[in-house]
């Protein structure tokens, strides 16, 4: 009992020290909000928010070239510019000003009318090739529709060519046949657009057990809260090592304080900072961003406690294993950033730990991923303690391992 009282006294003293460093406290609370807001703004909410800068160079005076440019201009996800100079357009791609240039050659329509293969060239910015693939797919789809037109037109022309010359000698008959061919083409295109034999029916899952959210910020904030909670790792480990290097730990050991109370008090102070961080961020999220908090406060509290304990005991372990402040800081940063990214903090709406394969396995072993998983289950799927038992067991288990290693290896002098 006495040890706990002394540990609490150390914790209170530490918190008084923290509170004097207002910049650090603001950092721990305000920056996750700022980063989360920026990330939300960058990621947007859906495909309508994707705007791909593309330049089209249509050198074809015929109908097919014009058709491609017109269809592309009407696609919401493409911000289309036009140019007459292929070299200038390629230069824009080369310098990263646009994502892709779509080059339609001068003889495009002529070649299709002659039933000769025609090529549309898509010049991609290699630095953004992943997004360039979307442009290629869109152009490919447009090309598919045009190819159907070309095939029908050519088929009618070929069969009509079998008609005796006498039959087509009358200009009125020839004009009528031409008009009929255009009518057929129009009918088939209309059919293709409005009543295609194969329709694609898109359905987004709905229901209580499906992870859903009202706005992107509400799902990004828990992930960033978890990632920023681990900033306590470099902070705690560097502070312990700084005290060790400065000799203040050695002096404190001489005081009438059990070592466990001394170290426990310090860790408790950092744990309280993490808990405060979560409470403040989640309150802001719930009040201002419609972020749901789920139906089980107990599950939410246990997840937060597990997160805090994992981060603080990890900080202790780093302090025990690192030989200098700079080492502890570097390892801490590695944990925050590399593990944070691998846990899916950059795209929490698309978490890698819930997939399959190597990436999913690696990701799911990371404590940040397990904490995010638990929060998402509680907050967005209305899960209870029973639903997150594996995540809680993993995090509390890791905390115990980190704590035991820290106690075993930590030297006060």
């Amino acid at each position: 009992m006495d040890t706990i009282r002394k540990a609490l006294a150390v914790a209170v003293k530490e918190i008084q020290v923290f509170s004097k460093d207002r910049v650090w406290m603001i950092t721990m609370l305000a920056v996750p909000l700022a980063v989360g807001a920026m990330n939300s703004a960058m990621q947007g909410g859906g495909s309508d928010d994707i705007h791909l800068p593309v330049i089209a160079v249509n050198q074809d005076a015929g109908a097919y070239g014009e058709s491609i440019a017109k269809v592309m201009a009407n696609i919401d996800q493409i911000d289309l510019q036009t140019s007459n100079a292929p070299a200038a357009a390629e230069e824009q791609v080369r310098t990263g000003q646009v994502l892709a240039a779509v080059l339609i050659p001068a003889d495009f329509t002529q070649r299709i009318d002659d039933y000769q293969p025609a090529v549309i060239t898509v010049v991609l910015d290699p630095a953004q090739a992943e997004f360039g693939r979307i442009v290629t797919t869109i152009v490919d789809e447009i090309a598919g529709a045009l190819a159907i037109q070309g095939e029908i037109r050519y088929g009618i022309k070929e069969v009509l060519a079998d008609t005796s010359p006498d039959a087509m000698a009358n200009p009125a008959v020839a004009r009528a046949a031409q008009a009929q061919a255009e009518g057929v083409l129009f009918t088939q295109l209309q059919r293709m657009e409005t009543e295609a034999p194969i329709a694609v029916q898109k359905e987004t899952l709905e229901g209580k057990q499906v992870l859903v959210w009202d706005n992107i910020f509400s799902i990004i904030l828990p992930a960033w809260t978890v990632m920023f909670a681990f900033f306590i790792v470099p902070a705690l480990s560097t502070q312990l090592l700084t005290e060790k290097e400065a000799g203040t730990l050695r002096r404190l050991v001489a005081a009438p304080l059990p070592r466990s109370a001394l170290i426990g008090g310090k860790v408790l102070a950092f744990l309280l900072v993490v808990l405060l961080q979560v409470v403040v961020l989640f309150s802001i999220g719930a009040i201002f961003m419609d972020m749901p908090l789920g139906e089980s406060p107990l599950a939410l509290i246990l997840t937060t406690l597990a997160l805090g304990l994992t981060a603080t005991t990890l900080g202790m372990m780093i302090a025990a294993l690192a030989r200098s402040v700079s080492q502890a800081d570097s390892i801490g940063l590695l944990i925050v950033f590399v593990l944070g990214f691998l846990s899916g903090a950059l795209s929490p709406q698309n978490p890698p730990y819930r997939g399959e394969g190597l990436m999913a396995t690696v990701s799911s072993l990371i404590p940040q991923a397990q904490a995010q998983w638990a929060y998402l289950t509680v907050m967005f799927q209305n899960g209870g303690v029973a639903d997150i038992l594996p995540q809680l067991a993993y995090l509390f288990g890791l905390s115990l391992v980190f704590f035991l290693i820290a106690v075993w290896r930590f030297r006060y002098e």
């Binding site: 460093d21 910049v23 920056v31 700022a34 980063v35 960058m42 994707i50 791909l52 996800q77 791609v93 080369r94 310098t95 299709i112 025609a118 549309i120 898509v122 010049v123 991609l124 910015d125 290699p126 630095a127 992943e130 797919t137 490919d140 789809e141 529709a145 190819a147 159907i148 095939e151 029908i152 070929e158 069969v159 009509l160 079998d162 008609t163 009528a176 088939q188 295609a196 034999p197 329709a199 694609v200 898109k202 899952l205 499906v210 992870l211 859903v212 030989r323 200098s324 700079s326 570097s330 590695l334 950033f337 590399v338 795209s347 978490p351 890698p352 819930r354 997939g355 394969g357 190597l358």
Partner: protein
């Protein structure tokens, strides 16, 4: 000379901290290896499974497995080259995986698919989406399905068009016989044979850097998302190294060694410059380790290497300018930070935000509104864009010199403000 002595002495101190030296090499290697491994063959916003770089994995439940039309439709879907079809037998299992977000989307083909198409009826394929589905991936998958449907139906549309034409020509006795069933069938078969040999319209993909080498070379040379991320992260880490500079200066101030050293016959400038020179060299070493690891060492582990471009001089200039900017940023941080936690915590987060704004994580065109224009106010932007240009866009020093100049301008500004605000005691 005194400057070099200070640098040498600091280097000796640094080398004694073997752990720090180890981390200098391990940290860049670890993050490149981990990021490359994690993103190897995985596209933006994975669908839960690894895929080859060019295709997105698409789980398909074909409930009409015996139907010829369903098989032909799936073959057309595969021929688009956009998706990698993963066939699953159990619809319930796939629906469960969708519910749990293990899969983000899946395609369901109904059992009457072939029968309905043969009867001339409309049929729907169902693309079920989880809300986690990446919108960019969805755009590709959905359009590939539409493309495949059209490809599969091309000859059907031709048949219908010719039959419609035959009906119109029925009133013309001289032409009516031309559009006989046999002639229409003969024409369709001829065009089908042609279409199988060579499509009427193809879309060729190329890049400015490898133009002239053909489509295959262009597609082979396209960087993976992992490589894109490695460059951004490398720049982020180089600027995070500014904290080491700031911390080493702060520690000297805290321990009073600066004050004591000022009693020695060494000028303040030599003292500070000596420290900066060492940190500048260490950042350069870190950059070199990142480049060698990304460009060469990583291949030993079977991972795709980073293309380091063709202009060595351009690369050296951009890297030196970036390292100098980072070092000068270090003295700026040391001058304005009041506590050690401000150096480790606050500056980390500010540098992280700056990296994000500079385009180290996501392409600038994804930024909303005018946010992309703000990117230019952070040095990260100039470093990231310079390296993208050299590595991926085939650019040379002639193209990226403005980036180097911008980085040097930032370095000068940080140095001037940092030195003016710096207090040795």
């Amino acid at each position: 000379m005194k400057l070099l002595s200070v640098t040498l002495k600091d280097l000796q101190v640094f080398v004694r901290d073997r752990g720090a030296v180890f981390l200098l090499f391990l940290l860049p290697f670890a993050f490149i290896a981990v990021l490359s491994l994690a993103t190897q063959g995985v596209t933006l916003g994975q669908n839960g499974a690894d895929s080859d770089q060019a295709r997105l994995p698409l789980t398909v439940v074909n409930n009409d497995a015996q139907g010829q039309a369903a098989q032909e439709f799936l073959a057309a879907l595969n021929d688009t080259g956009k998706v990698e079809i993963v066939l699953e037998d159990q619809q319930a299992k796939v629906e469960r995986q969708l519910n749990d977000a293990v899969l983000r989307y899946a395609l369901f083909i109904p059992s009457d698919f072939s029968a309905k198409l043969t009867a001339g009826d409309q049929v729907s394929v169902r693309l079920a989406l989880h809300p986690f589905a990446n919108q960019a991936d969805l755009l590709t998958v959905e359009r590939a399905i539409v493309r495949a449907a059209r490809e599969y139906l091309t000859m059907g549309y031709l048949n219908d068009g010719l039959e419609q034409m035959a009906a119109m020509q029925a009133a013309n006795p001289q032409a009516a016989s031309t559009f006989s069933k046999e002639r229409i069938q003969q024409q369709i078969e001829a065009q089908q044979a042609q279409a199988e040999q060579r499509p009427l319209i193809t879309v060729a993909t190329t890049t400015p850097a490898v133009k002239g080498e053909g489509q295959a070379a262009a597609e082979e040379n396209l960087p993976t998302y992992g490589q894109f991320l490695v460059v951004g992260m490398a720049v982020l880490f180089v600027f995070l190294a500014a904290q080491n500079t700031a911390r080493s200066i702060y520690e000297e101030k805290r321990e009073g060694t600066f004050r004591r050293l000022m009693a020695a016959p060494i000028g303040k400038a030599s003292l500070l410059d000596g420290k900066l020179l060492l940190n500048f060299l260490l950042v350069l070493v870190q950059v070199a380790v990142i480049l060698v690891t990304g460009g060469f060492v990583i291949q030993l582990f079977g991972l795709p290497p980073l293309n380091l471009g063709t202009d060595l001089l351009g690369l050296v200039v951009v890297c030196v300018a970036t390292a100098l900017c980072s070092t000068c940023l270090g003295i700026f941080i040391a001058a304005i930070a009041r506590t050690e936690s401000q150096i480790s915590g606050f500056s980390t987060l500010v540098l992280f935000l700056a990296g994000m704004l500079g385009g180290a994580f996501v392409p600038l065109f994804l930024f909303p509104g005018g946010l992309a224009n703000l990117s230019r106010i952070v040095p990260h932007y100039w470093a990231v864009q310079g390296l993208y240009g050299l590595f991926f866009r085939g650019q040379t020093l002639a193209d990226v010199w403005p980036n180097a100049v911008a980085l040097l301008a930032f370095a000068a500004a940080f140095l001037v403000i940092g030195v003016r605000r710096f207090k040795f005691e």
